[in-house]
Symmetry: C3
Subunit: 267 residues, 3 copies
């Protein structure tokens, strides 16, 4: 018995040693667990516990900073960029494809002889100023057209922005342009060649600098869309641009342009 | 002794077995605890640990999306709904109760003969366009009055919005309307019957469609208040509405209306 | 052996008791750990787990409240304070230092005889109304100048706000004022003494109430800057103020003022 007991005792000792080793491990694990849990518990209420005043405060601080930054950008013409096509800064619509005018006046406007000569009296105020309301846009006949703008000064072009009224509040979003082609000029652009002109016969200068072709998504939730120009144009100098569009969103009669902004660096 | 020892040894073994069982439980609990703590610790820094760059980034992303969405709605006339009472879209104030005009002119305006004939020359610009500044509102004599609006087109009415200048910046919030009654018409509304008219003598058509009565809370922190019309009116067609109010917020002399928007679906 | 065993057994018992005590501690610690971990795990997904729908929802709610509040303040003239210098409320620019006018007209404007007599025809519309666009500001000759404003009513002055176009979109931020000095008057301010006048010869009334001198930071990300006046002026009554500046941000030719707001309580 005693030997058995001794054997038992030895095995008990061994098992106890094993238990003690496990206990030591558990102590470490528990300590680590407790630390982690405490840290997590600390972090959670500090930053985000639903009812935690401190967490809510921190969250509010982060949110307020973001909101404040977003509102300052919103108040900075939404782009945070100078607009060298701003009418109030001296820019002007100097020519455009025939305007779409209501009723009998529209017939006159589409007469060929008015093609390159008549500028809509409100053109600069409509296209080169902050959007005021739905309906106040520059209406041009058809699904394709163009506008020539004299900028406020000579610049190296970097980007431009087109903004349509948000689709959600538009009376008819079909009159929004669907693509945009920008050409830069130093000096007034030549008369628009029209669809039938033989452009290869003209000089490179008269053709202007092809700054780029872009798609405008009138149904986007972000109607203020800024298009970056290729870096190769950052050395070019322009003081006029022609904004053209070849398609709209399906309106058969006219396309209405809301706001054009031109960005760059002073030349 | 040995038997005692054996007994002791047996009880030791039993206790050891018990300890081992408890250890097993603790191991499980500790493992589970550690997993939970690790998960919480993982989650916390990822999403919200104060000094955690990753958490701050994620938070900023969520905030930016919310802010961006809110700003686009803000830019979409704040309602995200087309406004069929917009002057720039062709809507017009066609009649209203006598205007409150400053000084001697106001006496003229309140003469009975002007009651239904004279429209304030700025009425549409003041009431049917975005609010520009405190003070630029349509002032009507007294605490009760009405305005008739020709909409931009025929619609099925679903809701309307009234917006007063925020109470915080108003010079005198007492001139805000306190309740609003909207009536729809197909064709121009009949002359307003006035308080003494016997409305039961008129036909149902002349009475128009009673689109609803609502309370406007000028002291709310949300001055842009949209009122949903009953679903029973979604089949009705209207192209004119009469906005009436029977009480203001306490100004004895006049009530000043800032902005009215009409919502619906094209009929 | 048995005695040894007994000794062994006794030590085993002691060790077992020790193990059991440790186990009891561990049980408590583990329970506490588990509770903390569970709480943290609960809190974390609820408030901020990246992919947690509930956490995202709660976060969105907090953000929406903050954004909504910020937008209502933005819509409340950005300050949430009545502006007693608002042109639409009846305030008016009654005098100012010589205006900087373009081309030949500017020469006339700087003639001494025009010094105190001519008011820019758009002065009130430019300075005492919400900023519409870059470039639409009141341009005054030189780096120092002043403007006299008749307020909408008699007030106890508490603060004023100056707002320049954001530096990010300004064509030339050098024309922003760099410091602002506000003086209050009851009744029209006396003619500006000019730099050479002996101010000590004038009476206290003519000098007005020195409401304070402040720095305007045109390069701040928050261009709408409200300056609190000393509490000692809250008993004073004024109905005119003179806003003066002694330096701009470096433009040699002119300083352009965008928007001035006057705050206080009705007297």
């Amino acid at each position: 018995m005693c030997s058995t007991q001794a054997g038992t005792s030895a095995s008990l000792e061994a098992e106890l040693a094993h238990v003690q080793a496990e206990l030591a491990q558990l102590r470490l694990a528990a300590a680590s667990s407790a630390t982690a849990a405490a840290a997590a518990a600390d972090a959670a209420p500090a930053a985000c516990e639903p009812a935690g005043a401190a967490g809510r405060q921190l969250l509010q601080q982060v949110v307020r900073e973001e909101v404040s930054e977003a509102l300052e950008l919103f108040a900075a013409d939404r782009t945070g960029l100078p607009d060298y096509a701003l009418a109030a800064g001296g820019a002007e619509v100097v020519a455009h494809s025939p305007a779409h005018l209501p009723s009998s006046a529209s017939l006159l406007a589409t007469l060929p002889r008015l093609h390159s000569g008549v500028v809509h009296p409100q053109a600069s105020k409509l296209l080169l100023a902050p959007i005021s309301q739905p309906g106040l846009c520059l209406p041009l006949v058809g699904a394709a057209g163009w506008v020539d703008v004299r900028l406020t000064r000579r610049i190296h072009p970097t980007a431009f922005t087109y903004e349509h009224i948000p689709a959600a509040i538009a009376f008819d979003i079909r009159s929004a342009p669907r693509n945009l082609v920008l050409t830069g000029f130093l000096g007034p652009p030549p008369p628009h060649p029209g669809p039938a002109a033989n452009s290869s016969a003209e000089g490179a200068e008269a053709l202007g600098v092809p700054l780029g072709s872009f798609s405008y998504d009138a149904h986007s939730r972000h109607p203020v869309q800024t298009f970056q120009l290729g870096p190769e144009w950052r050395q070019v100098e322009v003081d006029h641009v022609r904004l053209a569009f070849a398609a709209n969103n399906g309106h058969p009669g006219y396309t209405c342009l809301y706001r054009f902004r031109m960005h760059g660096t002073p030349a």
